[in-house]
């Protein structure tokens, strides 16, 4: 069937609720309203208020009680309404959720999924367009993933809910309404693997979430100029499938990482460091990064200049190819 990304999220949640009585959804306005993006539409009606919990408006409270429910044997799937509103829960996520397994000598797993619509491009007011993935990927004990399309959204969410570790699940909100075929009979790939979404010869582009589409558009444009760009969908930020990236870069000799988050201390920095170490003798140019600037996310009327777009991805490709 063909689904939008947000509809695929809904289907995945529905499937998880149906398959496992221990799965519960928690979040603000996720019941009757179906969430501000309608990701949980109809689920409270079909599964009841005890499975789909409208919570008080308190993010730390949501994650803190989700931890308690997980300790009791439940598998809570939490919705944070917007990226910029996760920070009241950041303490619970970092000091409690991420560390519980290690603190308990490996005994206590917390199978909690934290869904966060993230990224810009929708002309939103402040705190509604952020990309905080590096702040989670840096924390041992968490897994961090981000689908770029509907098929991955469905299966990666099912896999995240089935995982015995806490997973931060980042949903590219500006791609929520893009549609693609989804096969709900079998997963396409393991949760933490890179996927080649467009093969190429001259250079590798790594994107994730909202920037995979940007990279694909850039690769299509480059092809018209006779430049062959390979596009990888990173899919997972913790752990990262460095073997998958390495295999591509050994072929192309060039790499650019594209994300909306600020470049400084971002995912691109980690990928650049690791790939430089692994592929030093195969690289024809330094690993480049294309991403946000070192400023709070700007107002909607400025975000076109802030977000990496096709032209900035091509600019980096030109610079790498000129080496």
């Amino acid at each position: 069937m063909t689904l939008s990304l947000v509809r695929a999220i809904n289907e995945a949640l529905r499937g998880a609720l149906a398959d496992d009585p221990k799965v519960v959804l928690m979040g603000e306005d996720i019941g009757k309203l179906g969430g501000v993006f309608r990701a949980t539409e109809g689920l409270q009606k079909d599964f009841g208020e005890h499975r789909v919990l409208d919570t008080p408006l308190a993010e730390s409270g949501i994650v803190g009680t989700a931890i308690g429910l997980a300790l009791r044997g439940y598998r809570p799937v939490v919705e944070i309404q917007f990226d910029g509103f996760v920070f009241p829960a950041y303490d619970q996520i970092v000091t409690q959720l991420a560390k519980m397994r290690a603190r308990s000598g490996g005994r206590l797993g917390l199978p909690v999924v934290i869904r966060i619509p993230y990224g810009g491009g929708i002309g939103a007011v402040e705190h509604h367009s952020e990309s905080p993935e590096a702040l989670f990927a840096h924390v041992a004990g968490l897994r961090v993933v981000s689908p770029s399309g509907a098929a991955d959204a469905y299966w990666m969410l099912r896999q995240a809910i089935a995982c015995d570790d806490p997973v931060v699940f980042l949903e590219p909100k500006r791609r929520y309404y893009e549609k693609e075929p989804v096969d709900t009979s079998a997963p396409a790939a393991p949760l933490h693997s890179v996927r080649v979404v467009r093969p190429g010869r001259d250079m590798t582009l790594v994107g994730y979430g909202p920037t995979v589409r940007t990279c694909l558009d850039a690769a299509a444009a480059a092809e018209e100029d006779g430049v062959s760009l390979e596009v990888l969908d990173l899919r997972s930020l913790s752990p990262i499938d460095f073997d998958g990236i390495e295999a591509s870069v050994r072929r192309t000799g060039r790499l650019s990482v594209v994300h909306e988050a600020p470049v400084f201390f971002g995912a691109g920095a980690e990928i650049a460091a690791r790939i430089s170490e692994r592929c030093f003798h195969h690289l024809e140019a330094p690993v480049l990064r294309v991403g946000g600037y070192h400023m709070p996310y700007p107002g909607g009327r400025m975000e076109r200049d802030y977000l990496p777009d096709l032209d900035r991805v091509l600019d980096a490709a030109e610079r790498a190819l000129a080496y």
Partner: protein, 361 residues
């Protein structure tokens, strides 16, 4: 009377060891139970004192002493049923003892051998939590699960007066009220959050906050083990019956410093400490047991010996405790496979082995 004086609080045993009645909370107890409470408090104090000593000798990194809070901890913990679940803070060694946890686990934690390490399921006693107030939300979520399971048990969570300043504690009160969760909030108001007294944490008494969230709150004499037992027992029964959460403020006093890293003489009037020494929870029950003839010299001597034996066992066990290797810690971060952890562990092993190889050569 200012807002920070104890005012009305539930008391069943005066500092002179006299039983007094209370209209709302009565306690039927056998002589054996009373002697048991006394013994628990003595053992808790003995283990705690050994913690302070071992830290001073360099065997432990830190020790937060429970001295003075034995009645609050033992009274409340002895109200619990085995299948009730407990979320402690980090000073609740007496509660741990009542739950059947070997105190050695706590010594491992404060030595730096583990960050907890015991199995919470075994004694229905969760790990210590050092981030102030975080566990109050965990207990509330756990209690939401207990209610959903229709398990008929209760959850108790321990925290201090300082923790009531944390947002997480207010959020927990609110979630518990909204979801009618079977959780008992047991606040040990020992009047000091390191150097900050009650007047720097709140204006209105802690127990009164419950009313604002929509559930009952009560203040109990935290140095009266019988009152702590009776009030907690009632609160737990109420929670198990489906009537929702309750807040207990046990008004007590931290006789020692915050931890062994603290110097309480810099901020606290010694007159205040001396005044509270006269309200000692163990001496109080001891007086009662002597006056009523429920215990004799032989009992007191035997109990003190048991405390000394426990301390001696803890001392020798801690001194014999080997340092764990870091290699085992890699595999505890995640439950499922993780390539980065596997890669780092392989490197760590190879790097460590290179020294052994060099040594052999």
């Amino acid at each position: 009377m200012t807002e920070h004086t104890p005012g009305e609080m539930v008391r069943l045993l005066t500092p002179d060891g006299e039983r007094v009645p209370h209209p709302d909370y009565e306690l039927e107890s056998t002589p054996g139970e009373l002697r048991g409470l006394y013994r628990d408090m003595v053992l808790a104090r003995a283990a705690d004192g050994e913690g302070v000593t071992l830290q001073r000798q360099g065997e432990l990194a830190l020790w937060p002493s429970l001295l003075g809070q034995e009645a609050a901890q033992i009274g409340s913990a002895r109200a619990l049923r085995d299948d009730d679940h407990v979320f402690p803070s980090y000073r609740d060694h007496g509660v741990a003892l009542c739950r059947g946890l070997d105190p050695l686990h706590i010594f491992r934690l404060y030595r730096g051998v583990t960050h907890g390490g015991w199995d919470p399921a075994e004694h229905h006693f969760h790990l210590y939590t050092l981030v102030i107030g975080s566990q109050v939300l965990h207990a509330t979520g756990y209690a939401m699960g207990v209610a959903a399971d229709d398990a008929g048990t209760a959850v108790a969570v321990y925290f201090g007066d300082g923790a009531t300043s944390q947002g997480d504690v207010s959020e927990a009160f609110n979630f518990a009220a909204v979801y009618n969760a079977p959780v008992v909030f047991f606040c040990q108001n020992n009047q000091w959050a390191i150097s900050a007294g009650n007047e720097r944490q709140f204006r209105a008494p802690i127990f009164r906050r419950a009313a604002g969230f929509g559930f009952p709150g009560v203040r109990v004499d935290g140095n009266d083990v019988l009152a702590c037992l009776a009030v907690t027992r009632a609160a737990l029964a109420r929670a198990r019956s489906g009537a929702g959460p309750m807040l207990i403020e046990a008004f007590t006093y931290r006789m020692g410093a915050h931890t062994t890293a603290d110097d309480a003489t810099r901020y606290r009037d010694p007159v205040e400490v001396e005044e509270w020494r006269g309200k000692d929870p163990i001496a109080r029950l001891g007086l009662h047991l002597r006056k009523t003839g429920l215990a004799d010299d032989e009992f007191f001597a035997r109990t003190d010996r048991e405390g000394a034996d426990l301390a001696a066992r803890l001392r020798s066990s801690v001194r014999a405790m080997p340092d764990p290797g870091l290699a085992d810690a890699f595999g505890r971060t995640y439950g499922d496979e993780h390539p980065l952890v596997a890669e780092e562990l392989a490197w760590f092993r190879e790097y460590s082995a290179s020294f052994a190889a060099a040594g052999e050569g």
